[in-house]
Structures are given as C-alpha cells and as structure tokens.
Amino acid sequence: MKVFEGLQFRHVSSPIHRLDPRTKFIISCVIFAQAFLFTEFLYLILLFLAQLPLVILARIQRQWTRSLRGGLMLIFLIFFTNLIVGVVSNDFQLTSESLTYSTSMSLRFVVLMTSFSIFFLTTSPDDLGLALEQSHIPYEFCFAFTTAVRFVPVLAREAQTIMDAQKSRGLELEKGGFMKRIRNYIPILIPLIVSAIRRSLELAEAMETRAFGAKKQRTSLHALKIERRDIITLVLCFIILALTIYTRIYIPIPDVSIPIPPI
C-alpha cells in the first residue's frame, strides 16, 4: 500500500505544482523516452540525478522516498531477475557487464517511478481530469479516470480496515507456507472487491440523481491555460529530447561498469 501513498496528491505551492498538467505530462513523457532510449549505466544515473532537483523543487521528497521504499521489492526483483539471466547466459559466470546491466535496469525502474511520482504528486486529480477534458477526450472517460485515481487512497484505507477485522477473527497473515500465505489473502480480497463494486453502483446512482450526463456540452468553472512558464518548460523539454536523440544516434556513451566485488 506504500506505493500508492507515493502517488497521493497534496496541496503544496511550488513551481512544479503551478505548471499546467499537460506540461507536466510532457515532462514525464520526455523522461520516459530518455529512460527507454538508453540502457547505459552512466546515462541512467545522470538522468536520475537530473530528476532530484525537480523532486526538491516540488517539495515532495518525503512522499517520494516513501513510494520508493514501497517499490523496493520490485526493484530487487528486477535487479535479481536480470542478474540471474545474465549469469545463466554467461556460462554461470558473474560478469561485470551483467552486474552493470542489472543495476541499470533497476535504476531505469527508479527513474520511471520518480517521474510518475513527480507527475501524480504535483497534479491534483481535478486538474488531471480537466486536462483530459480539454484534450477532447470524452467526458465519461475523463470522469472514470479521475474517479479511479481519487479512490485509490480510499481503497487502501479500506484494505487496512478489512485486514484489521480479519486479524481480529484470528487470521494470521504471516503464517504458513507460500500457498497458505496466498490463500490467507482471500478473506481480505473478497470483501475489498465486493465493497468496491457496491460502492461503484452507489456512486452511479448518486451521480444519476444529480443529473450526470444531462447536457452533452459541459462548461467548467476553471479552465486550464498555458502560461509563459509552461511554454518555456515545453521548449526546454523539446530541446532536451532532441539532444537526447542526437546523442543516442551519434555519440557513444562511455562505458562505465561496476567492478565485481571480490568475494
């Protein structure tokens, strides 16, 4: 559940928060593109370091570290899967390349998670919905999307209550073998899913009683506007993207590899 906490929006006043959601989306896309264009360790670590000022500027360090801690399991999973594949395909030899490659892959995941965090932590669900709407996506889809985002913390809290309730009935989650532990989650998942479905039906009824979809053309109180700061950021983003692509094609990245620690 910690991973989700890292994506929960909080109202803070910062230069990043003030950017238009569409601008922030482009920033995230550019970071995504860069992360996928390169597998080199040196580039990915630079990319990671380049994200840190954004995190600090947006004042989301705490939530960001929390989400990374929540994703630690996945980071390890990526690292070891790559490492094992590397070792197996190299005649069971641990090479410096495979170690570097696995580290790069984990780092790539961290970079993606960070850009995700920056986007979701600094964009309110309402702004996000508005941005989708103004990008001419049908309102029903925008609404479904923002509702889904908004209900994530509610669902997380509910999962916690259900866990407490079942523990109070003697359920011990951490007991038993692997299969038993998986089965232990059935009493938690069923109430969670049932209540989510029940809530969605109630939500639909509540919306209908408030005339959802009565008018095809909707107007909104706040309209998003691209400001000068957005244009400057976007121009910067495209310059960076162009440079990245140029680098990818024409400039070799120096090979920095991690030496194998002596065992």
Partner: protein
C-alpha cells in the same frame, strides 16, 4: 480485565486521536463508550485487541502487554466486532462465515457445528444458515458479524456501533442479549451514539471528548449531567430531559429508565390524590 495506562496515540497522518488515557475495565463490567464523531472511541477499542499499539503508555489485557502479543492471540479473549460488517464477510454461506474464526482459533472439527448452532440461535439467524451473507439485509449482516465473533465465546466482547441499521425490535433483542451476556459474567463493551439505547441498558458510561475521557461513571449519573453531555455533543435521553423540566415538582433529576420514571410519577400522582 483491561487496564489502560497513560495511553496516547497519534495516527501516521498526524491526527492525535488519544491523549493520555487511563482507564480500567474489570472483568464482568458493562461499559458504553460515547462521544462525538472523532472523539477517539474506535481508536480506543482498537487498542484492546492490539490492532493498534500505544505510542506511549501501556494497555494490559489480563496482565498481558498488548505490545507483546499478536492480534490473533489477544482476539481469543477480546472479541472485537467492527462497525461495518462488509469489512469482514467473505464466505459463501453464513455457516462457513462463522466457522472461519473457529478454525483460526483451532477448535475441534466436531465442536464447530455445535458452536455455529449456538451462535445462530442466539442471534435469531437459524433460517439463514445456508444463505450467502451477501444476500442478507444490512441489519442481518451486522448480526452475522456479531455471531461470527460470539461463536468462539470470548471473555470480553467489544462492539462498535451495534445499533446502527437495527429496528426497534432488534435493538430490544440486542439489549436483552447484552444483559444476558453480562449476567453470565462476561465483559461487554460497546461504542455508540444511541443515547436512548444506553439509557435502556443502564451500563457504566465512558464519555470521550477530543481524545480524552471527559467523564466516567454510571449511566444514570452521566446521562443526566447537562454540562458534560453538551460538551460531548450528546443529547440527554428523553426521560432525563423530562425530569429536568419537572424539577419544580420535587422530583429527582437523575432518572433515565422508564421503569424508574413510572414509579416516581405514580408516587407523585398518589400524593396529589389523583385517582
């Protein structure tokens, strides 16, 4: 026996829910925990079976520090029924739902059906034995949730908002049922906003206000005290309101049960020679 010593608790989000609470609930006590929304009632009872562990202070259940025991271990003696039954029902039939807790606590195969029968009977749910709990009404689901906990016969029963969604007849039944458990020597603790229900039950009342215990004493004393009840956003029971207004007739103010009120009014009428 539950002993709470100087308990304070703050939620991770920074809400200070309990501030330096000390209270002892001896075995066989009958307690209603009351207070406005957000007073810390549910947070307090979640400390009784170790779901929440104190930030500072201690909670002892029969002498065992809750910090040193698992929720499952403590739940064997402290049966906690959550407010919303939908947070725990998951089985295909009511019967299996009740068996879940019994299996977790390691009851013998042959004893389980007997206990299921007993619990179903007690809560008037026999006809739903093979029904899916999801098909029952809200009030019935609440009773199933209570039955699932009751089945393993915990020494102490802690119930969060038992009267929500229950009609008058079910409330009456619930009251008799609480009295019965109490008479059998069990400790019954419930959280509620329902003043009339508390007045009828006549238990010890713990009145909470902003994470602290505002006052603690017999219902008769607390639910007739205008000062503390209004601070805790609680209306006096109707009988108490009536007797506050009849003060000029020389009637006592500390009256909450219909039985007692009836006696006093009869005496008054006799004295006035009304036939």
């Amino acid at each position: 026996m539950i002993e709470v010593e100087k308990l304070s608790f703050t939620y991770p989000a920074g809400i200070e829910a309990l501030k330096d609470i000390s209270v002892t609930i001896p075995e066989g006590d009958f307690v209603a925990i009351m207070g406005e929304n957000g007073a810390g009632k549910t947070t307090l009872i979640k400390h009784f079976n170790g779901i929440l562990k104190p930030d500072t202070g201690r909670v002892y259940v029969d002498g065992i520090d809750t910090k040193k025991a698992s929720v499952a271990e403590l739940s064997r003696t402290i049966g906690l029924v959550f407010q919303n039954p939908d947070h725990q029902l998951f089985s295909e039939t009511v019967e299996e739902e009740i068996a879940f807790g019994l299996k977790n606590f390691g009851f013998q195969e042959e004893e389980i059906p007997k206990r299921i029968d007993w619990a179903l009977n007690l809560l008037n749910l026999m006809q739903y034995r093979k029904t899916s709990p999801f098909l029952l009404s809200g009030g019935e689901r609440k009773r199933v949730a209570l039955a699932t906990v009751l089945a393993w016969n915990p020494k102490t029963l802690v119930i969060d908002e038992p009267t929500i969604g229950q009609d008058y007849r079910q409330k009456e039944r619930l009251r008799h049922f609480f009295n019965e458990l109490h008479d059998q020597g069990r400790t019954v603790i419930f959280v509620t906003h329902d003043v009339e229900f508390v007045a009828d039950c006549n238990p010890r009342v713990l009145l909470m206000y902003k994470g602290q215990i505002l006052s603690d004493g017999p219902a008769k004393q607390i639910l007739t005290n205008h000062e503390v009840t209004s601070k805790a956003s609680i209306l006096l029971p109707q009988i108490a309101q009536l007797f506050h207004q009849l003060e000029d007739f020389g009637l006592p103010k500390e009256v909450i049960t219909i039985q007692e009120a009836k006696g006093l009014i009869e005496d008054l009428l006799k004295r006035c020679d009304v036939p």
